[in-house]
């Protein structure tokens, strides 16, 4: 089942088309990476899903229903530009934001107690936001995003501003939320976190969706049948269809060579040839990193 579907979204600002025919499908219970260079239209899309703006045409379905005002309770949103009322106290502020999301004061209080214990921030309740460090404010904002237990959580650059320890804490929370069946969309430039966390991705460039699907399938799609081997000895001549891309010497006296084989050839043919000539330390397929995929996909269009 899909928690979120967008169909042919178009959003036009005065002279600038922010989104052009963007269709996405976000399955329930996954971590969905929304990728794209700056100004590609990610934020416009997120704002449409959050009903901050409306599309010029196209439909958005949340849990199979067309988007309606009541849906905001089912979405938690952490904007890229973090912001809280600086002069308000932490507890008061969170209670207010929770109530805006439709929780009663008592419900909000109960939920907040759990989060304050979990993050060990009980002493912050009566502190003013402006007296907290930036990292602490981020934690408060994260609580504000998830405290009403939304089905869909949209995080825009969730790790920016966190030190490694707190970033890890948030990462664990994201994974735990997925375990509970929540769906997380996160928008980021940081490919290592996409690599680590995302099950699905979509890539938006210049208002168009250029790529989407399960991460594994996309990697499959972008791989080039290239393998690497670390060895000692002389590789000798390989059949012309086997292309040696590059050879490097490792620090500890081995050589590392990347070899691309034709799509109709079997990897076993390559291994058989290698076995006769060199002493192999390791062998493996070069799976493209998300970073490479990103650069390749965006670059090929922009060129």
């Amino acid at each position: 089942m899909n928690i979120l579907e967008t169909h042919h979204i178009v959003k036009q600002y005065a002279e600038h088309r922010a989104l052009d025919d963007v269709s996405l499908t976000v399955p329930k219970g996954c971590i969905f990476g929304l990728l794209g260079p700056n100004g590609a239209g990610k934020t416009s899309l997120i704002r449409i899903v959050n009903q901050i703006t409306a599309p010029d045409s196209g439909d958005v379905l949340l849990g199979g229903e067309r988007l309606k005002p009541d849906h905001i309770k089912r979405i938690g949103y952490l904007p890229e530009e973090r912001g809280l009322y600086k002069k308000m106290k932490v507890g008061e502020q969170l209670l207010y934001l929770a109530q805006l999301k439709g929780l009663t004061e008592r419900e909000a209080m109960e939920k907040l107690k759990i989060w304050f214990l979990k993050f060990d921030i009980k002493t912050w309740w009566n502190k003013h936001i402006e007296d907290l460090s930036k990292g602490m404010q981020q934690k408060v904002q994260f609580v504000a995003t998830v405290m009403h237990e939304p089905d869909l959580i949209i995080l825009d650059e969730p790790f920016s501003g966190f030190d490694p320890i707190n970033a890890n804490l948030i990462k664990d929370e994201i994974l735990e939320l997925r375990e509970k069946g929540k769906t997380i969309i996160f928008s980021t430039h940081r490919m290592e976190s996409v690599e680590e966390l995302c099950d699905y991705i979509a890539l938006i460039n210049r208002s168009h969706k250029i790529l989407d699907g399960p991460k594994r399938a996309i990697k499959e799609q972008f791989k080039t049948n290239t393998y690497h081997v670390e060895y000692q000895g002389d590789l000798g001549e390989l059949p012309p269809a086997f292309i040696v891309q590059k050879t490097l010497a490792t620090d500890d006296g081995f050589l590392r060579t990347d070899i691309q084989i034709p799509s109709d050839a079997s990897v076993n043919d390559l291994i058989r040839r290698l076995l006769d000539r060199v002493t192999i330390r390791s062998f493996g397929e070069n799976i493209p990193s998300m970073n490479e995929i990103f650069i390749k996909a965006v670059g090929s269009i922009n060129d």
Binding site: A14, N50, T53, Y77
Partner: protein, 440 residues
Amino acid sequence: MHTIFLIIKREYLTRVRKKSFLVMTILGPLLIFGFYAIIGWAAVSSINQKKVEVVDESARFVDKFKDDSETKFTFSKKPLSTAKKDFVKEGYDALVFIPKNVIEEPKTVQIFAEKSVSLTLQHNIEQAISKEIETIKLSQAGITQKIIQDAKVNVDAQTINLSDGSEKSSNAIAMTVIGYFCAFMIYISVFIYGTQVMRGVMEEKTSRIVEVIISSVKPFQLMLGKIMGVALVGLTQFMLWILLTLGLFTVGGAIIGDKAERGREAMQTNSAMAQNAPELQDEKVKNNAIASVMQAVETLNIPLIVGCFLFYFLGGYLLYSALFGAVGAAVDNETETQQFMFPITLPIIGAIAVAQFVIKDPDGALAFWTSIIPFTSPVVMMVRIPFGVPVWELILSMVLLVLGFMGTTWLAARIYRVGILMYGKKVTYKELSKWIFYKA
């Protein structure tokens, strides 16, 4: 609807809890009270009972002069020469000499004093003597007291007319003061609370909380909630000011009550005397400005004025604060607000300038038009109301004001919803006009 209340509650509580609110609430009435206390003190302290010695050779006026809060008469049998020498030493402020032949030659009455005698005192004495002489002459001419009493019916009718006239003149002062005061309060509060709305919007925009909030509520709800929250802050402040001011005046009144009481007595005595001598009243009323203004205030339609004040405060505030809010949404920082603030504040500044002319001519064409147009009506109409405004004009003005603030709120909301999410862009009027026609 529920979310709007949450927003109003937050906007209200965060402002009311601020120290500056408390300071303003206490300071406001103190300033007003202090202002009145100084005027009151100055006026009351001038009411000092003067001791006057009377040497009456004709012996016709003994005990005919009535003591009041201003003057105390003492009759003595001393010869004029001794009295003249001693009256200052004995603590008298003035000496009145009435010669034997006063009835035949009234101009021979003399008043001696070390410092110059106040016109009022001179007037009082002259009046008392001439009235006595009049009575004597009338009875000599065969007109009895009864005929005078009968004649008094007419005189009374005359008095009422005259006193109406004089009331009007003192009313005019009260009307001017109250009208201008109300207009000025509206002018000031539109600025104070309008700016608060603008700052509130800017705070949300620059702290970037706005995106979190409007993922939960509609921008229009946020804007309206803020405007209403601040309006309630304003009303709370006014209520507290009125209560505190009343409290201060009650307490303060008890302290200077003695003197004020005497002032009021003087007023009553005067009106009693005025019945006998109508032409006296005008003079007296002027001498007792405070008491008369207070009396005049009582004759004004206070509930109407208070009701209209609250209506025009709210209407004017809503009209302008929506525009202030739009400015807050359009800009990134305080310095950029200047260029947009100027055209918005121009009409209300104009209104307070026009108010001075309206006071002089509350029914003129200028007064009429500026009190009908919504941008100036909250200020100008308040100036006119104490003088009396035709009902249809009042209703027209109110309806237009309501339409006016609905219009500005609509316009502001269109700018607001685009502006709050627009960062780092120098906004021009051309840009703003485009925003108005953006689709949501």
